[in-house]
């Protein structure tokens, strides 16, 4: 029989149809999820994988979730391969079995047509609680998986014949805090995946199995070709870089260096990101795992490219990621904990790659962006007397500080592991849902790392409980090793955390540790600042008009304009407008 041939037109039409299905799943999940982390912050991703588990379509996914989805999906196949049945659903939250970290629940549904397995719908979402030994989904303190405490589901069957396996649900509900929200989010994920299944079946019905299979193959080829074309525009060579996660007293007192070598093979159109020179696993929850090391390496390079490329395994597999079988930036190994595998060290692993290649082309380059989990993005928990209910959720607002990049200032609402995709909840909605009050959430002037292209400023947040005591658990990197500037740009500013008593005022301010668990009472306020983005290029080369604009907008002070950028601004007494004194600026910039 002749091979089914897919025309360019058909490839375009079928790919947009399948991307539409993955987006449809995203839409449904975001509208029906319960926790603010999944709904407001949209800390979840959806994917459609082909019959061998390779990703076909990843619409708007979070980088740390999705550039590794093939690994996770293949893990399900490894354990259940021959036994998949229509109506099954599987759950994986194990970093030791191809998942990211225990807080990310990955649901996988095999999609059958005429008894043949054609696709997988894979959805990964961050649950607000997963039953850790302390109320956080990032248990940085855990010396091993046993201290971490979350029930682990390594590719476990959770639905059969489209019905929950009640035993598993009951186990989870027993061990997880605020389990009705957990179950609501689970239902939202399953609901979305089932919609994906239904719609994919329609696609197969329409085009026939053989055409669909051929499409899958050709789409991967197309993705591969696009990626090769992009990589060929870069020179061959190997570049090394390092980014060091802050020390945590008593756990990793020296900090955690992430070392990377990035090799570009221009001719082959291939990139190798090599993390094997990074160290051994650490006795805390900050170890990465296979899925997040792959995601970090791939995201770092994709950040640098900054292109709109088809996100399928065919394209992604041109970025090979090497890691140790056992290492902090390697595969997860028992009993070490990978509770925090998606942020912190993972951020460092992304930043080390994205800024390793500066200077190799004219039009690209970037500094380091702000680091994860400032105190104001703590996981909070407690009892809400207003509604008589318990709550646990992660706050995600106030994550700013994008890196300066070649040609543009840093993106303000930056978040490394989500690629800036995650949203912020409205403060009013947060205050309605949880017994907290935001006294402040504003940009801090003079924080963005100066450069020809500035890093974006940090945000300060001040939060206080309104009724009862609330537990805050946070893990704020970036105080000792703030985001680095690049190509002559300045570093970003460090992160900061403190507490003060509202009645006594800011004179009662006391600085807090950066990795910390505390209970805040009403009248006590948490003051937190995230680190800010590093600048790119020499600030003395920055367009003085841009400096002026930022002064008018109060992002930077007149003093910084003069001291760091060498720009002299004066006030026109008649027009009452600030203008650049170019003569004085030229003089000042000569020195």
């Amino acid at each position: 029989m002749d091979k089914t041939i897919i025309s360019s037109e058909q490839l375009a039409i079928m790919s947009s149809r399948i991307a539409g299905i993955a987006k449809h799943m995203t839409y449904v999940l975001q509208s029906s999820a319960r926790s603010s982390i999944m709904s407001g912050s949209r800390d979840f991703s959806t994917a459609v994988c082909d019959g061998i588990g390779d990703v076909i379509s990843l619409p708007d996914g979070l980088p740390v979730h999705v550039t590794n989805m093939s690994v996770t999906t293949k893990s399900f196949i490894q354990y259940h391969g021959e036994n998949f049945k229509e109506g099954d659903a599987y759950l994986n939250n194990s970093p030791y079995h191809g998942n990211t970290h225990t807080a990310d629940y990955t649901i996988c549904i095999p999609v059958f047509y005429e008894e043949e397995l054609m696709f997988y719908c894979t959805i990964r979402g961050h649950q607000a609680d997963v039953g850790n030994s302390i109320p956080t989904t990032y248990n940085y303190k855990a010396r091993d998986i046993y201290e971490e405490g979350a029930p682990v589901f390594p590719c476990v069957k959770i639905q059969e014949d489209y019905k929950d396996i009640e035993d598993i649900i009951r186990m989870a509900k027993t061990r997880i805090r605020v389990s009705d929200v957990w179950y609501g989010d689970y239902l939202a994920m399953i609901g979305a995946a089932r919609i994906g299944e239904r719609e994919l079946k329609k696609v197969i019905e329409k085009y026939g199995k053989e055409t669909v299979k051929e499409f899958c193959g050709q789409w991967q080829e197309y993705g591969k070709k696009r990626m090769i074309e992009e990589i060929r525009k870069l020179p061959s060579g190997t570049w090394s870089n390092e980014s060091v996660h802050d020390p945590i007293p008593d756990m990793v007192p020296e900090g955690i260096p992430v070392k990377v070598k990035v090799t570009i093979d221009s001719e082959e159109g291939q990139v190798i990101v090599d993390y094997t020179e990074s160290g051994d696993p650490v006795p805390c929850g900050l170890n990465l795992c296979e899925a997040t090391v792959i995601a970090s390496g791939r995201s770092g390079f994709l950040n640098f490219l900054g292109m709109d490329l088809p996100l399928c395994e065919g394209a992604l597999s041109q970025i090979k990621v090497k890691m140790r079988e056992k290492g902090v930036v390697g595969k997860a190994t028992l009993p070490y904990s990978s509770s925090v595998a998606t942020t912190n060290v993972a951020d460092r692993a992304v930043l080390a790659v994205q800024s390793a290649l500066n200077g190799i082309t004219e039009d690209k380059g970037m500094a380091e962006g702000a680091l994860s989990h400032p105190a104001h993005t703590a996981v909070i928990s407690g009892h809400d007397a207003r509604y008589g209910r318990d709550f646990v959720t992660q706050l995600t607002n106030g994550h700013t500080g994008g890196m300066g990049v070649k040609g543009h200032d840093g993106y303000v609402k930056y978040h490394c592991s989500s690629g800036g995709m995650s949203g912020w909840s409205s403060i009013e909605q947060l205050e309605q849902k949880y017994p907290i009050l935001y006294l402040e959430q504003e940009l801090i002037s003079d924080t963005g790392g100066a450069g020809e292209w500035d890093g974006a400023p940090a945000t300060k947040a001040v939060i206080t409980p309104t009724e009862d005591e609330i537990t805050f658990i946070y893990l704020s990197d970036g105080k000792f090793n703030p985001p680095k500037g690049a190509e002559g740009g300045y570093n970003g500013t460090p992160s900061y955390a403190a507490i003060y008593n509202l009645d006594e005022g800011e004179s009662s301010l006391q600085e807090l540790p950066m990795f910390h668990q505390l209970k805040l009472k009403p009248k006590e306020a948490l003051v937190s600042k995230i680190s800010s983005g590093g600048g790119y290029g020499d600030p003395l080369k920055r367009d003085p008009e841009k400096v002026k604009e930022k002064v008018i907008e109060k992002w930077i002070s007149n003093k910084k304009a003069r001291d760091i950028y060498g720009v002299v601004l004066e006030m026109d007494p008649i027009e009452k407008q600030i203008y650049v004194n170019y003569d004085k600026t030229k003089e000042l910039r000569k020195i």
């Binding site: 897919i6 039409i13 449904v28 708007d60 995201s299 970037m366 303000v412 609402k413 409205s426 940009l443």
Partner: protein, 709 residues
């Protein structure tokens, strides 16, 4: 006989629709005059008056209903040509407009400039005050902060002040006090308060809508003032009705108060027309309306005779949380540019050729292939009868552009390349229809499609065939669908109130009070507008969710009074059903939270009584036939195809595909498996064979491969 007139200003043309009481419709188009839109409208009215053999004042004298839609506010926002706004906000929260609830659209996109806040930071002042989620004042308003800010605004020549404090909708005391202080400190200053513009939770949506509302205030005042003067001069003494984004009409006074609701009001009227036609022709209350322009494709839907509304409104990259007709717009139209990417994939848009330089076949300097060029090459368009002969198209230029942009890169011959462009564009439009139906849990096969825009008739058959939709109406007024929506629309205004309660501790008294107050406000409005009580209609709805959810779901209430537990249970069940249908899950054990109570007031305007024309024979008269032409259809290849003059077809005539019907304002491609019937109301009713599952949609027989992968 009395006339109704609707005018709708578009980017290129200003549409004028004139109908009489028995439904005779005449369409007129004049060029839009960007510097003074009123001039274009008056030119159009002149044309219309001439058609009726009247001078303009006599023509307007016969008009008893005049309505108007314009894009001046939308354009003002896009071009930044709005008033200078000063924003007052709660201390500690001056960056609400910078943050915009975050979330960007592509994870690896970093080489771009940050979007600027709608009001710059140097014109944003915060004042000490704080209200909590229950509306309790926890920090008193610091009045000297307010006075200081107002004086700064004065100094900086701000044209209008927007006030948006946290939780203002729960307790407007501080906003009201600020209004008083503004009057004391700067009596002539204009201002806008957030709890009046958009009394909803979510500070960003409320603040940005208040700021936008403020920024349009001076512009709309000026425009409506001049507009009324111009109408006055030509003998039209009444207030014109104005299109609103709620899919209805409002009065100038209302619009000056809330110019926000003039944004995108044109597209919001298209489903009004769609609903009208589907009801008239087929008695169907489920309708998808699509309106195809040069580079945009607008979609909206009507379910059970109700136009779908959304709170997720995006204008110029700002996300406003105001209720508005749910119109989905994608960047695909006749002017969308076709290209081939580095991996050998055909792409359409998002770049468009606009009207200048336009498609290559316009011969105005456009060198890149567009969807219109493909239509010409495939024979769907007559180069000598474009826009009823207003313009001549150059087929050779289209051929060259197609070969260069698509044919050569993909190694396809001319027809294959044109077909590739054509089918891909059609599939993009098809996906957009899926987004507004299947995504919302709606089965499109249960809907009638109504098509608008001169070019829609060329794409509509493959779109509906793919979706399994059987009935399509291409109205006589297809090319001016929104304006036609205007002449049949009703007066409409939304009222809403935030009140939080749940099914587990439902506050009957407060909810009933809230509903009653809403109704009273609505009745007041309609009374003031002079709508007799028998023509007043009220539709109640509520926004609700499961605990902890952030995206509320709106559904209509079957009652305006909760008498007992049973009424509540019914409402709860309706929520579970709605949630399951739209969002794929049902959690019957959970209680339901209610957040916003709403009523839409409608003032019915006497209906146009369209008279049916006598049905004639099935077979079109010989005089309706034009000369056959070569047209390409998949599965048939290039064949000699009958061409009909739409002006000469009579009610009852049926045209079977393959055929083309050329009208003055529309061009219909009747594909081989479909037919077009001229209805008794002189619209086209297209029928598609339902036997399509076995058909191959793609032309695979000769398709060439992707580059050399």
């Amino acid at each position: 006989m009395n006339l109704r007139i609707a005018t709708d200003i578009g980017g290129t043309f200003t549409d004028i629709v004139v109908t009489d009481e028995i439904g005779n419709v005449n369409l007129f188009k004049s060029s839009t005059t960007p510097n003074n839109h009123i001039e274009g409208i008056m030119n159009g009215l002149q044309l219309a008056a001439k058609h009726y053999n009247l001078d303009l004042p006599s023509f307007m004298d016969r008009c008893n209903f005049f309505c108007h839609g314009s894009t001046i506010t939308t354009n003002a926002i896009i071009t930044g040509n709005t008033a200078k706004v000063g924003l007052l906000c709660t201390k500690g929260h001056r960056d609400v407009l910078v943050f915009r609830e975050a979330g960007k659209d592509h994870p690896y996109k970093w080489y771009f400039d940050n979007p600027e806040p709608y009001v710059p930071r140097h014109l944003t002042y915060s004042v000490e005050e704080r209200i909590n989620h229950e509306g309790k004042i926890i920090v008193e308003l610091n009045e000297s902060d307010v006075r200081e800010a107002i004086n700064k605004f004065k100094e900086k020549n701000v044209e209008i002040i927007a006030v948006s404090l946290l939780w203002s909708f729960a307790n407007p005391a501080h906003e009201k006090r600020i209004a008083e202080i503004i009057k004391e400190e700067w009596p002539e200053a204009r201002y806008t308060l957030s709890h009046l513009v958009n009394p909803r939770i979510r500070e960003y949506g409320r603040t940005v809508s208040t700021a936008i509302n403020a920024s349009l205030g001076p512009l709309i005042h000026n425009y409506l003032g001049r507009f009324k003067d111009s109408l006055d001069k030509v003998n039209y003494k009444k207030d014109p009705y104005l299109f609103t984004s709620s899919g209805g009409l409002t009065l100038p006074e209302e619009m000056m108060e809330k110019p926000l609701y003039s944004l995108d009001s044109g597209p919001a009227l298209a489903p009004v027309a769609g609903k009208f036609y589907a009801d008239k022709e087929l008695g169907d209350g489920n309708v998808i309306t699509c309106d195809m322009g040069g580079t945009s494709f607008d979609l909206s839907r009507v379910t059970d005779h109700k136009i779908a509304v959304t709170n997720n409104v995006e204008i110029a990259d700002e996300r406003l949380s105001i209720p508005k007709v749910d119109v989905k717009t994608i960047g695909a139209g006749g002017g969308s540019i076709a290209w081939v990417d580095a991996g050998g994939l055909i792409r359409i848009g998002p770049e468009g050729a606009g009207s200048e330089p336009g498609p290559a076949c316009y011969m105005r300097g456009g060198k890149r292939a567009t969807v219109t060029d493909a239509a010409l090459v495939l024979g769907y368009l007559d180069p000598n009868y474009f826009l009823g002969g207003l313009m001549t198209l150059n087929t050779k230029a289209a051929e060259e552009a197609i070969m260069k942009s698509v044919g050569e890169p993909l190694n396809l011959d001319l027809v294959e390349a044109a077909l590739t462009i054509w089918n891909t564009a059609t599939s993009i439009m098809t996906e957009a229809v899926r987004d507004i139906t299947i995504w919302e849990g709606i089965d499109p096969t249960e809907y009638t499609m109504v098509g608008g825009g001169g070019a829609i008739g060329m794409h509509i058959v493959p779109i509906v065939e793919e979706l399994g939709i059987e009935n399509v109406i291409i109205p006589e007024a297809s090319s001016t669908l929104s304006a036609y929506g205007g002449v049949i629309a009703v007066l409409v205004k939304d009222f809403e109130r935030s009140y939080f309660t749940t099914t587990s501790d439902f506050n009957y008294e407060e909810v009933n009070k809230c509903l009653l107050e809403l109704k009273n406000e609505a009745v007041d409005f309609l009374n003031k507008a002079g709508i007799p009580s028998e023509n007043q209609v009220f539709e109640f709805s509520v926004e609700s969710r499961y605990p902890f959810q952030e995206k509320d779901l709106s559904f209509t209430l079957d009652t305006d009074h909760f008498g007992d537990e049973e009424a509540l249970q019914k409402t709860k069940e309706k929520f579970h059903d709605t949630h399951e249908k739209a969002r794929g899950s049902r959690d019957s054990e959970q209680h339901v939270e209610f957040t916003i109570w709403k009523v839409q007031a409608k003032g019915l305007i006497p209906e146009i009584k369209i008279e049916a024309e006598p049905i004639e024979t099935n077979t079109p008269s010989k005089g309706a036939k034009k000369e056959d032409r070569d047209v390409y259809f998949r599965d048939l290849g290039i064949i000699k195809t009958p061409i009909y003059n739409g002006e000469k077809l009579r009610p009852g005539n049926i045209v079977y595909g393959p055929a083309i019907i050329e009208g003055l304002n529309t061009n219909l491609v009747i594909f081989p498996n479909s037919s077009a019937t001229i209805t008794k109301y002189k619209n086209y009713l297209l029928k598609i064979n339902s036997n399509k599952k076995t058909e191959k949609t793609f032309n695979t027989h000769k398709a060439k491969m992707l580059g050399n992968v």
